[in-house]
């Protein structure tokens, strides 16, 4: 089994919206169950009267963290494919402080205000209106603060990488810290808020192993195992279905002709990723517009989602064929080869040869079409009569911002992940 299912292409965008709706129902349901539709109960967190914000949040974090570690470690989930929002440290610290201020002033956060509005709380509805007002304001000032918003970039970074601690050890540490925080929270509720611990709390006045205590012990036990369980990330070893791969390798469906690729680029299709597997120097000299440079040796580095349709090409056919095999064994289901590679691209798209003067009209028309295509990509059609002793010159690459004609499919896509 391969998860995340969506990234392995088990279902498409349309189905993902149904998944989104169902996930949202679960999310909203438990937020309301927890009492998070009530601003007064949320704010009680900050006066030590009722620390359920801390308890619910950290129980959820620990549950998902421990669960994901286990599923990744036994190989069911490829952890490197779970989206990690990139870190921009200073803007996130400032944003966090502003958001914290908004929390105590308004009483909600975006998710809880939806739940509160859904159960009829007028303050929740007004909070939502205020949030939209804030977003409008943010959009207007964005051009002036864009540089700050993108300052201190640290990339997609986990605490394990930052502190050079094994992932599993950190999982254990977070479990211990969360359980410690829960005990401290119940103690604070008792001392400051004057609340007596009930049967569902860790400090319940009984020696029995209550269900909540059992849950805590289970988390601790799994956390302890995680500390010694090793790396949850998929290693460099791929598992392949050799028979399926052999069948697909012989099939022409995995090949894209140069003319067809040119048509796709002209039409501005952005449902595929064009990957140039040559080295950076060759790529800098010339590449097909919109191509992404991922040299053969870097292909195993999770440069794209598994559900992405990928067209690979090299100089001729060999490197691309190796890339095809590698990507297929890494679990990319939709990998295509540019038939004949860059050589074929040059011959048919950039420098098409004119037919003989007495060729049938259909060939002349086809040549006219190809000539237009060649000009689109900056090439030159080759006339048969004229002597062409030297190889035709490759089109000059335009500097990146003034993108070559065609499209830059990756950059223009709608923001797909993150908030």
């Amino acid at each position: 089994m391969m998860a995340p299912f969506f990234k392995y292409g088990l279902f498409g965008d349309e189905v993902s919206l149904i998944v989104a709706f169902v996930t949202g129902i679960g999310f909203g349901f438990f937020l309301e169950r927890a009492g998070f539709g009530n601003a007064r109960l949320l704010a009680a967190q900050f006066y030590f009267r009722d620390l359920r914000v801390l308890k619910v949040m950290f129980t959820a974090i620990v549950t998902a963290m421990v669960g994901l570690f286990v599923l990744a470690r036994i190989g069911l989930v490829d952890l490197s494919l779970v989206y990690l929002t990139p870190t921009f440290l200073v803007p996130q610290i400032v944003g966090g402080l502003i958001l914290g201020a908004g929390f105590i002033v308004g009483g909600y956060c975006p998710g809880t205000s939806c739940v509160s509005a859904a159960i009829g709380r007028v303050d929740g509805m007004v909070f939502l209106a205020g949030m939209i007002g804030g977003l409008v304001g943010f959009a207007e000032i964005y051009p002036h603060i864009a540089a700050f918003a993108h300052s201190t970039p640290m990339g997609q970074l986990t605490l394990a990488q930052l502190f050079h601690i094994p992932y599993g050890v950190l999982v254990f540490a977070v479990v211990v810290m969360a359980l410690g925080a829960f005990v401290a929270a119940e103690w604070a509720e008792m001392k400051i808020g004057g609340k007596q611990p009930d049967a569902g709390s860790l400090l319940a006045p009984t020696a029995r192993l209550t269900p909540v205590r059992r849950f805590a012990v289970a988390l601790l036990a799994i956390g302890l195992v995680a500390a010694f369980a090793g790396n949850p990330y998929r290693g460099p070893f791929a598992r392949i279905d050799a028979r399926q791969l052999a069948l697909d390798a012989g099939s022409p469906a995995d090949q894209v002709a140069a003319g067809q690729l040119a048509d796709w680029l002209i039409a501005g299709r952005n449902d595929f990723l064009l990957v140039d597997v040559r080295d950076a120097a060759a790529f800098a000299q010339y590449h097909i517009p919109a191509a992404l440079n991922v040299p053969l040796a870097n292909l195993a580095a999770d440069f794209a989602s598994r559900n992405e349709r990928i067209v690979v090409y090299g100089e001729g056919g060999t490197a691309a064929a190796q890339a095809w095999m590698l990507l297929r064994s890494l679990g990319y289901p939709a990998v295509h080869l540019l038939a004949g590679g860059l050589e074929e691209w040059k011959a048919t798209v950039l420098f098409p040869k004119a037919p003989a003067a007495d060729a049938p009209p259909i060939e002349q028309i086809e040549f006219a079409r190809r000539s237009a295509m060649a000009k689109y990509f900056g090439g030159t059609p080759q006339c048969t009569g004229a002597s062409a002793p030297t190889a035709p010159e490759l089109p000059k690459l335009l500097p990146p911002p003034a993108a070559a004609p065609g499209a830059t499919p990756v950059a223009q896509r709608k923001k797909k992940e993150g908030c």
Partner: protein, 179 residues
């Protein structure tokens, strides 16, 4: 609705926070496994806003780098977005839970020492701060704190500490609103 003279059945007590958190954690885990992404909230409102602005003033929306990011290249409807559908689900899920626990009531949550108008003004103001903070931090309590927290994301943990810091830091000044 039926006769309003009847007193509504009393609201049921809230769920034990640890079990609610466990449920929430399982929802989050299922999003990781099925989609390879976590939960979110604020992004849905940004997409809805960007789409609305684009419909009213297309040139303005296209000229703004912030809106553009949520509009895409025009090949797909921006509202056919994962977070938009997820947040629609949040409203439904919240309503269902509230209905099952007899908590559906048109009312305002506030402390006894603040006027209704005062509370609503602060709710609006808090919402506005939340919108700004969430965009600066690339996510809110759902997208950053919960999701990034479970993924041990550096920025999310820094963000989460600051959210608690900001709220605790101002709590004393706002005690009349809540206590």
């Amino acid at each position: 609705m039926s006769a309003s003279t009847e007193t509504p059945p009393p609201a049921k007590p809230h769920m034990n926070p640890y079990w609610a958190g466990f449920g929430l954690g399982l929802v989050l885990l299922s999003a990781f496994v099925v989609m390879g992404r976590g939960l979110g909230a604020s992004g849905a409102f940004t997409t809805a806003l960007a789409t609305t602005v684009h419909a009213v003033a297309p040139a303005h929306a296209e000229g703004n780098a912030f809106y553009r990011e949520y509009l895409g290249d025009g090949t797909t409807n921006p509202l056919k977005d994962w977070l938009v559908f997820e947040v629609l689900g949040v409203f439904v899920g919240g309503f269902l839970s509230g209905a099952l626990a007899n908590r559906l009531r048109l009312t305002i949550e506030k402390g006894p020492r603040i006027s209704t108008l005062g509370r609503l003004v602060l709710a609006f103001l808090g919402g506005a701060l939340m919108g700004i903070g969430a965009k600066l931090a690339l996510g809110c309590t759902s997208g950053q704190a919960l999701t990034g927290g479970a993924l041990l994301n550096v920025g999310s943990w820094a963000f989460m500490l600051c959210v608690f810091g900001g709220a605790y830091g101002l709590a004393w000044f706002l005690r009349r609103e809540w206590l």
